[in-house]
Symmetry: C2
């Protein structure tokens, strides 16, 4: 990976990839924990960070590590099923925090209620199969992972009188907003989980029958997905992170001094939970991984709204804010968030690197570059890119695994070059470049212009004192 | 107190009054605990039961005990203020569970979030002053209790964009529905708390100034009260116990066998909290103590709706269901609930009388009789009655303290006699009898007819297997 115009990030992203590859490639069917093997933080436990931050990077760089990680999740299936039974639910409830499979988090409310881990596992599986084409794994363990997580969602949610499907009493990624109804991230990820399971069951009918999946059950998954309620405040035209979020009391950021952060150490959760204060990207995270569910105008409005209320008391936030800042038209802000994610440990920004590196934040630096400035998305089984650099970057170059091929993307300020390797003479890769279809072959690289950016409107503001921790790099001489 | 037509209840209500008087009259500025002094249950702790079940009975029968109980609460003020500061709030946050004043309940979510205790204390004070006319207590400790609880509500709640006042993230009386927005009981009791405080501060201006109450602060209390949001589902025309309650998933009562009750011992709270299952009267309790905030038609619809979803896994429910069943026109159902409340310990209905008697349920027998079949209410500083007996009762006679006087109410199937004692020749008591003004003097009793009942509509149903534990008494020979 090449980053020109920010030598610190260039160094940091290599440092990060080294640790992500070390932790991931050598996990060998053991969990990839939050600190990898670099320190005692989180007591060696693995969380949803693995599936939503580390595995997306490994999927495009070292997919065999993802295969092992998915196999590990699959190997804990019996415990996840037992956990679901304990909770009066169907399917499999994967643990929010674990080493060997059992739920190791305190019961309430952040741990168990964070059911989105099930959809995160399903999405990691979906992405791995999409990128690798590994149908053997899809059939042998993927189908069951999808079926059991779809069953969880179907039993956890319910239809209301008007036929809308709700998932109530859950906690999304934002740990300052817990046990609420209709978390947008959870609902959108569950929606994709349900549809992916139904499609997979159709493709592997015999294996699905062995798992007891009837046509009626698959239809019920599709119905729930299609009826999924996504709360939206039409009064101010933004999505509600959870039902009713945008009418909760505002947090008094003006009177929250710097030494009171992280808030969780200074204010009771009771107070955090009932106000508009966001620990980490949640609705914004939904706009990354389920960006297909939002219009461009919605993304801009939502990003600006949640930016004002997000304090980043979690290291699982800056990289996602970078991705969306880049998408909605604030490349300099994206660059600052990229630097925060990438330099988290090298600059010891959270003053806890002694406990081990932040594996997800390091992976997040790759995500901020590739999904942020490269604009990589893989919705609906299709690769798409919207490359556009910040003013300080003169070049970003990265490689992605795609089936047996290797796609190299070389982003310059005004053009992008796509080249494909390791394929035969007839191999083609159809992708989208800034929304336009583009066919790439192994014959020769394709260079296309980067369209000029639209003006995005007023710069988003963060809560007082909560701007990105890093400034832009020194301008090259 | 005389109850003719149900000798068991006659005995039980005397048994209950004995224990309530013993626990209350001899508390002498110590808390009146949930079990009185009769057993080790709840480790001797006092709860909101004291203010909302025990004190209403003592206010009308032994008000000096109420004075002591209020003095005890007042003596814990410093701890309640400190608790509020800990929670980032103003005023006083009285403990949900305590012996000596500090909050002794687990932090989350049933204990601390059950802020309604503040309004319960304020209402007990309001009732005591109303019934006794004890202005010295009102001035010396009552004002400060009202001011500090009003300050709690003003800081706990907030206005939304449209100017509605919300109290978010709290737990009402129903312990199967926790940490929700806009609990109707809490909001209505807080509303009365705020208005009572503003009125009291106006009447004791100098003392209020000493407490720092400005005209602006009192105005802010009135505004919050007037803007209080009361969630209502206009789709099905019932009040929502908490915001969004009526669109939550229904509990599967059909497949909940008898041995799975009480539910809290067999299902995770996670599951109870997010479904339409009610442990104890909550919206129905609001319709008792804030009955002035509901129309008769609303009460009937609400009672029927919540009756289907209330499992009474708490002993703090049957008496309230009796009161509302009587009010909305189901006197036989009210009688069965009265019997459940009254005989809770004598029949050991919950199989735990060995831990001590249920003080609130015993007090509840008196409440079920006097507020249920007698129809006593004291909204807006006025006594009102809607006496109407169940078919099995031939007579209900009870006495109430009112200032220095003693009001005796003798309810028969078709008439009620009110007589006043201990007053001078000019003493009058203006009350309402079935909505009509009635003046009672010490000169002679007044006998007025009981108007015939309107047909109430279909009999309300309880969840499968959760009908009142007691049947109607044997028909007198």
């Amino acid at each position: 990976m090449r980053v020109e115009g920010d030598p610190e990030v260039q160094q940091a992203v290599r440092f990060g990839l080294f640790h992500v590859l070390q932790a991931g490639a050598r996990a060998e069917r053991r969990p990839i924990s939050a600190k990898g093997l670099t320190g005692p933080g989180y007591d060696g436990h693995a969380f949803w960070d693995t599936e939503m931050f580390v595995l997306p990077v490994l999927t495009y760089t070292q997919p065999s590590a993802v295969r092992d990680a998915l196999q590990w999740r699959y190997d804990t299936m019996a415990q996840a099923q037992e956990r679901a039974r304990t909770l009066n639910l169907e399917g499999a409830a994967f643990p929010w925090r674990t080493i060997e499979g059992p739920e190791s988090s305190a019961y309430w409310p952040a741990g168990t209620a964070a059911f989105h881990i099930a959809a995160d596992v399903a999405d990691a599986l979906r992405r791995y199969v999409l990128v690798t084409g590994d149908e053997a794994l899809e059939r042998d363990i993927g189908l069951e992972l999808l079926v059991e997580t779809a069953r969880l969602w179907r039993s956890l949610g319910h239809h209301d009188r008007a036929g809308r499907f709700h998932i109530d009493g859950v906690t999304g990624p934002d740990e300052y907003t817990a046990v609420k109804n209709d978390n947008v991230y959870t609902n959108l990820m569950a929606q994709r989980n349900l549809l992916t399971a139904a499609d997979c069951a159709m493709r592997y009918r015999d294996q699905a029958l062995d798992l007891g999946v009837t046509e009626e059950e698959a239809a019920a998954w599709r119905d729930a997905a299609n009826d999924m309620h996504i709360p939206y405040d039409s009064d101010i035209d933004v999505h509600e992170q959870v039902e009713g979020f945008t009418r909760l009391q505002e947090w008094d950021f003006e009177h929250t001094p710097a030494e009171k952060y992280p808030l969780l150490l200074h204010y009771p959760y009771f107070d955090l939970y009932r106000k508009q204060v966001v620990k980490q990207a949640d609705l914004v995270l939904a706009m990354h991984w389920r960006g297909d569910a939002f219009s461009a105008a919605e993304k801009l409005r939502n990003f600006t709204y949640y930016e004002r209320r997000t304090v980043r008391d979690s290291s699982l936030s800056a990289c996602t804010q970078a991705v969306l800042a880049a998408e909605v038209g604030f490349p300099e802000l994206a660059h600052r968030y990229l630097r925060e994610a990438a330099l988290m440990d090298l600059h010891d920004l959270n003053e806890n690197t002694r406990d081990g590196v932040h594996m997800a934040s390091l992976a997040g630096a790759w995500i901020a570059l590739v999904a942020g400035f490269g604009g990589l998305r893989d919705h609906d089984g299709k690769l798409s890119f919207t490359p556009r650099l910040s003013s300080r970057l003169s070049r970003l170059e990265f490689s992605l695994q795609w089936r047996s091929m290797r796609l190299r993307v070389d982003v310059r300020p005004h053009q992008t070059t796509y080249s494909l390797r390791n394929g035969g003479p007839d191999t083609v890769l159809d992708l989208l470049h800034h929304g336009e279809p583009l066919r790439v072959t192994c014959a020769r690289p394709v260079t296309v212009p980067v369209p000029p950016a639209h003006p995005a409107g007023p710069q988003p503001e963060q809560p007082a004192g909560r701007a990105p921790l890093m400034h832009l790099p020194e301008q090259a001489g």
